[in-house]
Structure formats: C-alpha cells, structure tokens
C-alpha cells in the first residue's frame, strides 16, 4: 500500500468513537469496510465482507493483529487482509490517525 502526496484521505470519525479492540463498519459510496481499533493508537481497515460466507468482519472478535469472522471463525490478518491458515483475502486500506481523528484512503485499497 503506497500512499503519496496525491492520496485522498477521508476523515471517518474521532478515535474515541471506535471501541478499543473492536471493529466498526463504515459505509461510503460502494465501499463497505470494517475499521478496527487495536489499542495504543493502532488502527486497521479492511473490507467488511468475509471471503468465506460473507460474514460481517466488523462484528468479529479481535485478537492482536487478527479478526475472527463472527459466522464461522475464519481468521484474517488485519494488516494484509489475508486469511490465516486458510485461503481467501479481503482488500485492506491505508489508515492514519492524526489529531485523534481516523482517516482512510479508500482509493488505495489493495
């Protein structure tokens, strides 16, 4: 994920509205993504839809750098969007926290 000086960053909301170690769903245009607050100012963003049976990943349990899908427990790495010990991948998006606000670069997802 390479962001440049031309990257478009969208303000999502303030950090305190993201519960720690949980995911929150964000809708924007055709995007349906899940933004995770891992604690200590670390945030991750991936597509919300599980590659297995389309479960809402934002509702999963967060453990370290992973989320477990709430439907059938597929484990996904929040950094890369790749399923862990299984096949499948979701898009991941660059996230930045600045001045206690969370920004996502939707166009740079990969």
């Amino acid at each position: 994920m390479n962001t440049t000086e031309q990257t478009k960053w969208y303000l999502i909301s303030e950090t305190h509205l993201f519960p720690e170690r949980e995911g929150k769903r964000v809708h924007f245009k055709d995007y349906d993504i899940a933004v995770f607050n891992l604690g200590n100012g670390r945030f991750r963003a991936i597509d919300n839809t599980c590659p297995h049976k389309q479960g809402p990943l934002a509702d999963g349990i967060v453990a370290g750098e992973n989320v477990f899908c709430p439907l059938h427990a597929l484990k996904i790495d929040l950094g890369s969007g790749c399923a862990v010990e299984a096949n499948g991948k979701v898009r991941s998006y660059p996230v930045q926290v600045y001045n206690a606000k969370v920004y996502v670069a939707f166009d740079e997802g990969e």
Partner: protein, 815 residues
C-alpha cells in the same frame, strides 16, 4: 529377615526422608520404621507458604505417598511421637506407651518454632506457622472471617506468612524488633528496598517494635508494644524463628550444644545414633535451610550403611524468599566489616532492583539480590567454589554477553557444574546425565531421579529448558487440559490466579499470564471466568465477547439478528403478545417464529433497530444468544391438567426468575413438569424438576440436541424449596467447575454423579453455604442487558459509520 538390622527414623520431615531415600538407594540390610509425630505422609515444608497464599493446593506439596512407604517396605507410624530414648537398651518410648527397639537410630526431629515469652500467646487467634496443622488453622480463620492480621517477626518465614495472609484477604502488618526486615540476609539498604516492596503490596511494616502483650479476652483483639502503642488484630502469627528440637538427643545422652553435635561423617558421640537436618550442629553451625539437609543426608547414608568415607564440610548459607512478586536472594557474608572486603553494588529505585556483591581477596564471598535474582545460581556457584574473580568488577555484576532470559540456549551455555536447583543442590551436569544416562524424558522423571526442583520449585523452568535442549523431540509432553494455548493454565489454576492476583478483566489476565492478545477461543472463556470468579464484580470488557454478547441478540447467517424476549416458564399474556406483534410490524420483522423453548423469536432484525425494539417491547432479554441460563420450559401442571401432581407453571416461573441473567460455561436449559408424563421434557434438560406425588425429583445432565441423554436423578425431595436448593447447588457447582463450552451432560459424565453429589447436596454445610452465597452474589449483579437501549456501553455500540457520498477528501497525508 532375622539377620537384618532395625533402623528407626524419628521424624518424617524433609531431612529424614531425603536421607532415608539416600540410604535406600544403597540397598542396605535394614528393616526400616519411621516414627512421625505429624499424622500425614512426608510433605514439602518449604511450600507451606504457597499453600497459605493459595498458589498450591495442599495435595500438591506431598513428597512421598503411602505407596512409596509400602513399596520400600517402610513401616510408617503416623501420629506416633517419640518421647524418650534409652540408649543402653536401645529402646525408644513413644507417647502411646509403645516401645520400639532399634539397632541404628536416625534422629531427624527438625526444629520447633521459637515463641518469645509474651503475655497472651495462648489466646485464640494466635498461631505459629511451622507445619500443615498451623497452615490449616490459619486458613480456616481467614476463610471464616477476614480481618486484621499481625505477623510478629520480619524474617523469611514471617514475610512469607504475611504475603499468604494478604492473598487470603487479610489486612496485614508485619512487626519486627530489628531496624530492618530479614537482617540476617540483607544489609541496611537491602532492608530499605525490601520494606518498600512489601509496602507497595499493601503490607504495613512496623520496625523496631518490641511486643509486650497480645491483648483480648479469649480471642485476640490487639497487640501492645513496649512503647505503649497498640494495634488492632483479629489474628496474630508468631514467626520469630526456629530452635533445633534436641530434646530426644539430650535424653539419649548425646552431646548437644545448640543442636545435636555431629562430625564430618554425620556421626554423633554414640556409634548407633545418627542425626540429620535442622536438629544438628556441625562445626558450630545450625542450618535452617534445605540444601544442607540434602548434602548431610548423602554423607550420612554412606556412613550408616558401612561406606564411611564421604564427608560433609558445611554449607554456604543461601536464602531465597518465596513471595509472589518479590525476588530476593542472599548468600554468604555480606557485611563489609573487614577492611579487605570490597563491595560491588547496583541500585535501581524505579524498578526496585538492588544488587550487592562482597569480594574478599579476589574471591566472591557474599551476594544480595533484590528485584532481580536471575543471577543467583551463578553467584552461589562462585561463592561455593571460592574461585578467583576477574579484575573487571562490572563483568562480575553483569555477565557478558547478557543472557537472553527464557531462550533455550541460555541455560545450556552454562558450565556443567552450575547449580540449577539451589534447594537440593543439583547441578546442570547431573540433570544432563539423568536425561542421557537414566533416560529421563519429562520434568517429572528428572524430579524423581535427581530430586531437582522438588524444593521451592523456582528452577522448574530451567530444568525444562535443559530437558528440551538435551532430549529435543523425545520430550514427553504432559497433556494437562489448559484453557487455551494463549493462556496455558488449567481452568482451576487460572481461577486461582485470577483470585489471588486480583485480576478483574480479560485483558489483565491475558497480559499478566497469557500472550497478551488471546484468541477467539479464550477471550470469551476468560470473559466468563472473570465474571464467575468475581461473582459479577469484575471489569466487563465487551471486546472479549462474541458479537451476540455485545449487542444482546443472536447473529444470523446474513448478519442480521434475532430477538427473543424472556417469557418465564413459557407463560405469556394477550397484552404481551399484542406488544410483540406491534413491534414485529413496526420494524418489518421478516419472520416471527415460536421456538422449541416456548418463546417467540423475531428474526432478521438490523443491528441499529435492536435498541429501539427493546425500548418498545419493554421486556427482559431472553439470553437466547448467550452461554447462560436460557429458559425454564414448563407443562400446565395442577393449575389445569387433570393428571398434574405439582404446580409446574408457577414453579417454572419462579425457577427462571431465580436463575435468569446468569452466565454459565455453556447454555443451560431447564424444565419443570408437574408429573412423570414429562410433557415439557424436563428429563432431557440440563436441570429438570419432575413433580411426583408428594415431592420432586431433581434431575441433571439431560440433553436433546446433537447428543441425546436422559438426565440423572440428583435427589428426590418433598418441597419445592428443597428442590430449588439442590438445583442451585448443582448450578453453581457447574458454573465453577465446568470447562468453558462443556454442557452439563458432558460435565456430569466427566465427574460422575457420585462426585457431584458429594460436592453439592452431600457437601458440608459450609461448602453448601459458600456455593449458595456466591450464586446469590452473582445474581445480585445481574441487570437486564436490554436496558442498554437507554444507556449504551459505547456511543457506537449499535451503529455503523455512514459517510455522505459527496464527502470531501484531504489530498496528501493528514499529518
């Protein structure tokens, strides 16, 4: 048989039995009798402090079981106190009047606690802390009623007792006559560090206090000091040191100074009588530690079996404090009173670390380590070997390259002579040879073979490292069922840790005892365990909960939720049904279904509609999404049914009201039927009440899911109240002892009905009361989670973020 000599060991403690083990290894021509004043098998006295602190259950500290005595043909006479010895006729007279003849006698009577002459030491609530009986008595008082405990004596034993009492919920003060704690093991500065660490834990340290009197009528209520100061106390523990128990030695006519005098061969002045352990004096020294006992035992075993040759030449005094959260090690001489002694020291106030080494004539003679005792064995080795130390004192204190703690190569880079187990005195080489030559493949094997790690147990990790490095893939893994790999403790142990370490949240437990992150399996499990252990008085962390428990509804395959209100006993009303119908229409609920549990399910609800629906319904959550009490299904019973023998409807409503809202290891479904026709299927429920003529059957462990199992009858009683009590006892026992996700039908099979009966309905009144009180306390903390529509736990608990389509972007990094 007749040509065998009779060896009698007086004393069943660590010294006597360690020595006896060494004697038996030499396959001697002895018939052995052990006289034990205490009424139990040989146990590890050092670990009494761990029993007091709750870190170890009593059964974990036994060293030798009855089978060991049997297997070795030892006649063990428990509860038999030797009171006199006639050395001429070679007879021992016991308190029960019996006479025991010996050919060889081994005295291993250890020490007695020293009780200073203070008025009032006989009052109820005053204890010594020396044996299992003392420990049990102290624990019993702590459990009956917590309060203020005063420990008289700021030495090793007193401090270990203080920490244990703190763990048991007492408010603890330590009173010491000297100007610093453990003055025989630490210098003035070390005493300052030590005091600070104890105070941080919440223990009051009162120095330079001389106790004048223990106050109170029959029960202790305070301690008066010589300067007139008084402090309140509900319990006093006297830990003012120990004195060698030499009474029998004197009666046998042995030479006795402070202890029974022995020479380097461990002989007394009588050729048929030997002595070992804390009751002996060797070259003017009396030891109260374990390592010397072990060394003495080996020498004595050679002498007594006719292989006289090896000698005991004294031990370096080394002490480790076993107090959770405080590391202290002290060895050798540490007071630089002579001009030729030089000091190398390091202090770190922020981390509470203090290290001091004393060097004399280029040789290390003493060490004090507080806060970080990882180098303890290295220094102890240097002192023992009396090696020349290098010129660079900095290297002495911090060995280079720094060892990486916990790395498997760490311990293997040390020389074979390095001591691994300081208590017993076992070197790395001995452990390696136990693995290579004797075929040890588990820590348990190594313990048996070398006795390493059977003392205070702090070296178990090192022993395991050596085992893994030497035996590699051949190591036999001990499969103990642990909660999860992220937090590798069995559930029972974890509950103990959570309690004693005062851990109130999932994240605390994971960070202190686990891998810090947890996983899908253990986070919800820990969520349940902290709730159960603290009876609802924990710190709830929603992030550890499955989505169902974050939004109090059951997630469906399309990501929508289902809503099931509580309908106690399966009873509803026209008004309630109307309300449910209105809500279903208002929120366009796609499916309304009657469940198998006599309730109504509203399916296909969007997350953001949940709080609004709860507000409109104004009903209690049915917990249909949780590992918790689901419902009580009931039949019509005597109210309407012509066959009914009991009032099952009201009983069902009452039972559900009593237990609703409580979390359990796995879901719990209940049923109440008014007669054995069993229309509401109570006999395939986790807990069921079956009405019979004149009473109730209480049944447990039934299932009608993937597994079908008929419930077992726990007991039959006459009244509804009795039936409820039995059901509650089982319910709470299951909450405390069930593995997470273990349904009652597996739980009942795993433990067996008899064991469950013994621990619930047949348990002591005290145990029963405990179960019921904890249940009551948990119940008192229950709130209807659907109230969160009024006050969400988080502003975004039920909502998504929705950005407008024309949201403007920032070009380039916001920072």
């Amino acid at each position: 048989m007749s040509d065998k000599k009779h060896l009698v060991v007086v004393g069943n403690g660590m010294a006597g039995m360690a020595c006896l083990s060494n004697i038996l290894k030499r396959q001697p021509n002895f018939v052995v009798t052990v006289l034990s004043e205490e009424p139990y098998c040989n146990y590890n006295r050092i670990l009494l402090s761990s029993v007091l602190s709750g870190e170890k259950p009593e059964e974990d500290i036994y060293i030798n079981t009855e089978e060991w005595y049997e297997k070795n043909n030892i006649c063990l006479r428990l509860g038999t106190k030797a009171v006199d010895i006639n050395a001429k006729t070679q007879n021992i007279i016991c308190q029960d009047g019996s006479l025991v003849h010996y050919d060889k006698l081994l005295i291993a009577t250890g020490s007695d606690p020293f009780i200073p002459p203070i008025d009032g030491v006989k009052k109820r609530g005053v204890y010594t802390f020396r044996n299992l009986a003392d420990t049990r008595a102290i624990l019993e008082q702590c459990r009956a009623k917590t309060g203020r405990a005063v420990v008289i004596g700021g030495g090793l034993l007193g401090l270990e007792a203080a920490r244990g009492l703190l763990n048991q919920g007492m408010k603890v003060s330590v009173v010491h006559i000297m100007d610093r704690l453990m003055e025989r093991q630490v210098d003035e500065k070390g005493g300052w560090f030590l005091k600070r660490e104890f105070e941080k834990m919440g223990i009051d340290v009162l120095l330079k206090r001389s106790t004048a009197r223990i106050m109170g009528d029959k029960d202790v209520d305070g301690v008066l000091f010589k300067d007139g100061e008084i402090i309140g106390a509900d319990m006093v523990v006297v830990a003012c040191g120990i004195r060698p128990n030499v009474a029998l030695g004197k009666k046998a006519g042995l030479q006795v100074n402070r202890g029974i005098v022995v020479n380097d061969y461990m002989e007394t002045n009588n050729p048929d009588i030997f002595a070992v352990g804390e009751c002996v004096e060797h070259r003017g020294m009396v030891y109260g530690l374990v390592a010397p006992l072990w060394d003495q035992g080996k020498v004595l075993a050679a002498t007594i079996t006719g292989d006289k040759g090896p000698t005991y030449e004294g031990s370096v005094l080394a002490t480790k404090l076993k107090v959770m959260g405080i590391e202290l090690f002290s060895a050798g001489e540490f007071m630089p009173e002579e001009p030729e002694k030089e000091v190398v020291a390091y202090e770190d106030h922020a981390f509470g670390i203090y290290k001091k080494l004393v060097v004399k004539n280029e040789r290390l003679v003493g060490a004090i380590l507080i806060g970080d005792s990882s180098d303890a064995n290295r220094f102890l080795d240097m002192i023992r070997k009396n090696e020349r130390v290098s010129g660079d004192r900095h290297r002495l204190l911090f060995e280079t390259p720094p060892a990486v703690p916990g790395s498997p190569t760490d311990v293997m880079s040390k020389p074979d002579t390095e001591t691994i187990c300081g208590c017993i005195g076992v070197s790395k080489g001995q452990i390696v040879s136990a693995i290579r030559e004797d075929g040890c493949r588990s820590v348990q094997d190594i313990k048996k073979c070398t006795k390493a790690s059977t003392g205070c147990g702090t070296c178990t990790g090192l022993v395991e490292q050596i085992l893994r490095a030497v035996a590699g893939s051949e190591v036999e893994e001990v499969k103990e069922k642990v909660v999860c790999e992220c937090i590798p403790f069995p559930k029972e142990k974890l509950r103990n840790i959570i309690k004693t370490q005062n851990l109130k949240s999932v994240q605390d437990v994971l960070e202190v005892y686990g891998n810090g992150t947890g996983c899908l399996a253990c986070k919800p499990a820990l969520g349940f365990i902290v709730d159960e252990v603290w009876c609802g008085d924990h710190e709830e962390q929603r992030s550890a909960r499955f989505i169902n428990d974050r939004v109090h509804a059951n997630i469906q395959r399309d990501g929508t939720f289902s809503v099931i209100p509580r309908m106690r006993g399966g009873v509803t009303s026209p008004a309630q049904l109307r309300k449910i119908a209105d809500v279903a229409e208002k929120y366009k609920v796609p499916m309304v279904k009657v469940t198998g549990s006599q309730r109504i399910d509203l399916l296909g609800v969007k997350k953001e509609d949940l709080p609004k629906m709860w507000a409109d319904l104004d009903m209690t959550s049915g917990y249909a999404y949780a590992k918790a009490v689901r419902m009580v299904k009931s039949c019509v019973g005597t109210d309407f049914c012509r066959f009914g023998t009991q009032n099952s409807i009201q009983t069902g409503i009452d039972l559900e009201t009593a237990l609703e809202g409580l979390h359990t290891p796995a879901k719990v479904k209940l049923g109440v039927v008014g007669c054995p026709r069993n229309c509401a299927e109570a006999t395939v429920k986790d807990i069921g009440l079956v009405g019979i003529e004149g009473g109730w059957q209480v049944v447990i462990g039934g299932a009608a899911g993937k597994t079908v199992r008929a419930a077992d009858i726990l007991l039959v009683v006459e009244t509804k109240e009795q039936a409820f009590e039995a059901a509650f006892l089982f319910f709470q026992y299951y909450r405390e002892n069930g593995e997470y996700l273990e349904r009652t039908y597996d739980f009942v099979e795993r433990l067996g009905l008899e064991k469950i009966r013994q621990e619930t309905i047949l348990a002591s009144d005290e145990k029963k009361r405990g179960l019921l009180e904890r249940l009551k306390k948990s119940k008192s903390k229950v709130v209807n989670p659907w109230n969160e529509h009024k006050k969400p736990v988080h502003p975004m608990q039920f909502d998504d973020f929705v950005l407008p389509k024309d949201k403007e972007a920032l070009i380039g990094s916001p920072s």
